[in-house]
Point group: C2
Chain length 335, copies 2
DNA sequence: GGCGCTGTTGCATACGAATGCAAATGCTTT
DNA sequence: AAAGCATTTGCATTCGTATGCAACAGCGCC
């Protein structure tokens, strides 16, 4: 049978002090005599007392909890982010409440849970938020930070890597490598990351007097990307380069080219991805890609959330962090 | 400035009823007249009222929260588990509080946070728990379920796949394929998964009159596994097969063999993994492996936790779920 | 019209810890 | 020894919701 937990009241009785005194022993800044504190801590230890965080949250009006909404945990890039974010917030005494939500409809129901949970802040990892929900959070004074996603509403903060210039670099790199029939494999149609990468890429091509040879949509999904690859290579003339909007899809492209079409990377086709996930460095792929600064992005998001929580102001800032081109064998200069 | 949230009291005033009535409108089983309910819901909607889960938890003594302790989120196998678990618990109205903990020392500090958080249950995903901590949970009546890890204490439940027979199958498969110098690449030295897989594997070899040719430790880590592979292949005579305790390491083995030693899989060396992560199916690897029933394991863990929470009894059951051999090109019969 | 019954409602209290305020304690100073 | 000051302590209240209990309304039935 579940026994009732030890309360500060019981500890107080054993230690021969008041409940307030016990409470003060567990608040860092409270005034308490060392002698009393020792007595109380001894009693607490004897009874196995742990302060009840729920009761504390109720009175302090702060749950020390951040709600994280994720769309895809199968993408190692976001798994890494989550892991790092968890550690980061743990350091600051905050805990993560995890929610999975694939589509916008699910997000609505999830947000309802989040608002009830009294989370002090919301971190959206590649998840989309309707502006009505964003509005509600802002109205309630709950800071929201979106990573790698945009919402058209003032008041929510956004952290993203410089997708545009990442795409721009890829465009330059491929043209300068001598590629002439360059294809683009998009991610989710409505994602800001994909469209920004695309735009930078297209602008780079244009500046070099080139144009995109073909486009397809891979939904940031392995199987969809494979199908898209088959489509891109179904014409008589093949592309000689593919820029996939993320590494996950780039890997799918490489595998499909090698296994199904008997093509060599980079000899027959150059492939470039985006993210620099661990797999990209594996000997089998050696994927040229654009590295997103995971830790810097999370650090920035953490700072924004904690700052806004501390100040009580939701400010809706926008941070763009620089990316780093990583040249590996899948698309080298001068190929 | 953070505004104070709307309370049931305010809703009650607007609707012209008592606070209790408002409360009853948000408890599914409470008795409330349809007419009253409509009035209250209208008022609630007008004010944007959301029940405060913290206050509710305090009075009901149930946070509807499960603490999840994970050791490695970079292993896609556990990322998948987490994602599925999150959805599963969400369905039952429970939320996940995520904690990362690499070593046992960190786990101690994390457990302190968990106990304070008043989580209704604890799910350990490939994380280890000292028996003193396990004891404390049991004493408090908090159910604990460990997935793929063992703790030597009565009262915590354990869900694992049949590691022994998985290893056993691998042993048989490799011997029957004609391999003669079979190496084993272990995971973490103290993990039950690794040692059970090893034991089944060794027993299978022994039954076929064979023995393990060499062993090394890869710590379930990519880089460590690469180093271990180099060590295994530093002698004059190479192994002709490697059984890695998980896919992650098996991939590392394959990459190292191909890229650094110029060896072919499976022609020169057969490689077998464990888990059947998505990567294992990719054309570049075609990894023969043993599939763990992720969803069944999580379902079982969910059922155990929710069952024990509902009954208030912590029972410490032990479930072993069957695994499925997956034969792909990296180690085929009759090679 | 009174009786009993089912279904609703409000009252009052409880959950466990934090904190403003006033009382009390301990220590220094003259 | 008394006054003055700083520190410590306890009292009482608060957070927002759930729920046992009693009161009560409405209804059917005899």
């Amino acid at each position: 049978m579940k026994k009732r937990p030890v309360t500060s009241q019981q500890v107080a009785e054993l230690a021969g002090v008041s409940q307030s005194a016990v409470s003060r022993c567990f608040s860092p800044k409270a005034s308490i005599a060392p002698k009393t504190k020792a007595k109380v801590l001894a009693a607490a230890k004897q009874l196995g007392y742990r302060p009840n965080a729920i009761a504390r949250s109720l009175i302090t009006r702060s749950s020390r909890t951040i709600a994280v909404v994720m769309s895809q945990l199968d993408n190692p890039f976001y798994a890494q982010m989550l892991e790092y974010a968890s550690r980061r917030f743990q350091q600051h005494g905050y805990h993560l409440l995890l929610f999975m939500s694939s589509d916008e409809q699910e997000t609505t129901s999830v947000m309802s849970d989040i608002l009830q949970s009294q989370a002090d802040g919301i971190l959206m990892l590649a998840a989309t938020l309707s502006s009505s929900l964003a509005k509600e959070c802002v109205a309630r004074g709950i800071p929201v930070v979106m990573i790698n996603r945009t919402v058209a509403f003032e008041g929510v903060s956004q952290v993203a890597s410089d997708n545009y210039h990442g795409g721009y670099w890829v465009g330059c790199h491929l043209v300068e490598s001598g590629c002439e029939r360059i294809a683009f494999l998009a991610g989710l149609a409505d994602s800001s990351t994909s469209s920004q990468r695309r735009q930078g890429f297209l602008d780079a091509l244009a500046e070099h007097g080139a144009a995109c040879w073909a486009e397809a949509i891979g939904d940031y999904d392995f199987a969809t990307a494979q199908a898209a690859t088959r489509a891109l290579f179904s014409r008589d003339v093949y592309p000689d380069a593919v820029f996939a909007a993320n590494d996950h899809m780039a890997i799918a492209v490489i595998d499909t080219l090698k296994a199904e079409l008997g093509l060599q990377v980079p000899q027959d086709v150059a492939v470039v991805g985006f993210d620099n996930i661990p797999v990209a460095a594996w000997p089998s792929y050696q994927l040229t890609t654009v590295q997103q600064p995971i830790e810097a992005m999370v650090d920035e998001a953490t700072a924004l959330l904690l700052g806004q929580i501390a100040s009580g102001q939701v400010t809706g800032e926008r941070k763009v962090l620089p990316v780093t081109p990583i040249v590996r064998a899948s698309a080298v200069s001068g190929t």
